[in-house]
Symmetry: C2
Subunit: 263 residues, 2 copies
């Protein structure tokens, strides 16, 4: 069955977009068919993979103005240098009008189920679907959480990001109770780990202690290559395949695959 993973955290700048682009590419490199969905009006995922923000995409699917499959763009060549048999990565792009979706859907009774509905006919074509959510807990993020079978929350190795974790866990519990009982698993991914500072180590230990069964073993290091890749419209696996960032996300892909939905 297709694993739909919402990559979400209301704390801003923790590595959600970077993780969707890099993990999506790494899963494709392992031979999976991957779909990444840009559900953020900033459209950072879309531009990170070299696609313009003026196409049919997530907004049109949420508004039921386009069939999901008509919005898919093949970004395999932006993601990978070498494509293994069977592997591919497609993008459902975002555009700035997505910023209006929250208000436009405010009175729709099924406002949080639009993405799940829109993907219904096509989701089986993919082994993995990753949804890049904006830094808030509003309608767009809720669409990602309702469409998902799992959640991956990037947690920056800094104090303020740690603080937000309790709020995020409370929201996920409410979503599971009221909107999506199928939301089975949560994975916490530590990001931007800077070994030179004691702060990062302290935060990781704090999360390991309190959320031992949720935290991934893979920690993503802070490396400037990851911040550079988006300006080239490439995933880290294409931009700097031998570097520490690509290596860490390949390890994360293997760990996510092994954890499986039964994780």
């Amino acid at each position: 069955a297709t694993r739909v993973i919402a990559v979400a955290n209301q704390k801003g700048g923790v590595g959600k977009t970077t993780t969707v682009a890099a993990l999506g590419a790494a899963l494709a490199a392992r031979g999976h068919r991957v779909l990444v969905v840009d559900a953020d009006p900033q459209a950072n995922l879309t531009s990170s993979l070299g696609v313009t923000k003026d196409r049919l995409g997530t907004y049109d699917v949420l508004m039921r103005a386009a069939a999901a499959a008509s919005t898919f763009i093949d970004v395999t060549s932006a993601a990978l240098r070498v494509v293994p048999d069977g592997g591919s990565i497609h993008l459902m792009p975002a555009s700035p009008d997505l910023a209006g979706a929250e208000v436009e859907l405010a009175t729709a009774h099924d406002r949080t189920a639009r993405l799940r509905e829109g993907l219904r006919d096509d989701v089986h074509r993919f082994g993995y679907v990753l949804v890049d959510c904006p830094p808030s807990l509003g309608t767009l993020t809720l669409n990602g959480l309702v469409a998902a079978t799992e959640v991956l929350a990037p947690v920056q190795c800094e104090y303020l990001a740690l603080e937000g974790l309790t709020q995020l866990l409370g929201t996920l519990r409410r979503v599971r109770e009221r909107l999506n009982p199928g939301l089975a698993h949560l994975h916490l991914a530590m990001t931007m780990f800077d070994a030179r500072t004691g702060l990062a180590q302290g935060v990781v230990e704090e999360v390991r202690t309190h959320f031992a069964d949720l935290i991934l073993r893979t920690t993503i290091p802070r490396t400037v290559r990851l911040a550079e890749a988006p300006s080239h419209g490439q995933s880290i696996l294409r931009y700097d395949p031998a570097g520490r960032g690509a290596e860490a996300y390949r390890t994360m892909a293997a760990e996510i695959e092994a954890r499986g939905v039964a994780g």
Copy 2:
């Protein structure tokens, strides 16, 4: 006249909260009476200044359930080691129920003017009011922009933060046309500048070229001390007063003061 500065940028993690805490403290150190308002449900500014998230605050003011002045907390001792004559800093704290404000105000005709109304009787008591906005362009950020006379947008020295600038400028133009003609000035503050990477230098040059009259001369360096200060409930001016972070924000305060509303 009181200068009300909304610190806003829909891009997450660019240093909005850090800037409000540090710049607020630095303006108080120059002898000004400062009010900082936490308009983010994450309540990061509130905890960064050592205050718990269970008090009357911004949510109650927006819902007209409390008078603004009854929510103000004196945080001068968390912000500064040495308090100059006349200088002080108070906080209007946030709480998690602020996350509900967007939905609760959705049908109110004056939903974006609640903060401006709430501050009306007290704003004249302060020389500066700084509003920490969440990473979105929804109702809470709009409340900050409608209450404001100026906007300060922190811009992280990285590519994805640069991308979001055009969208932010478009939003500010619309707010000035439709909601707040008094929104006079925009200041762009470059943050998390890491001199070791060419990326940061490139982004600063790009912003300097395209927005020469908006960018502040002061650039904030990336320094781990700034990331540590929130866990101690202190501003950088108290936590590490002799460091590069405190120095940079003192320079920014002098520059903001000199620019004045006429800036």
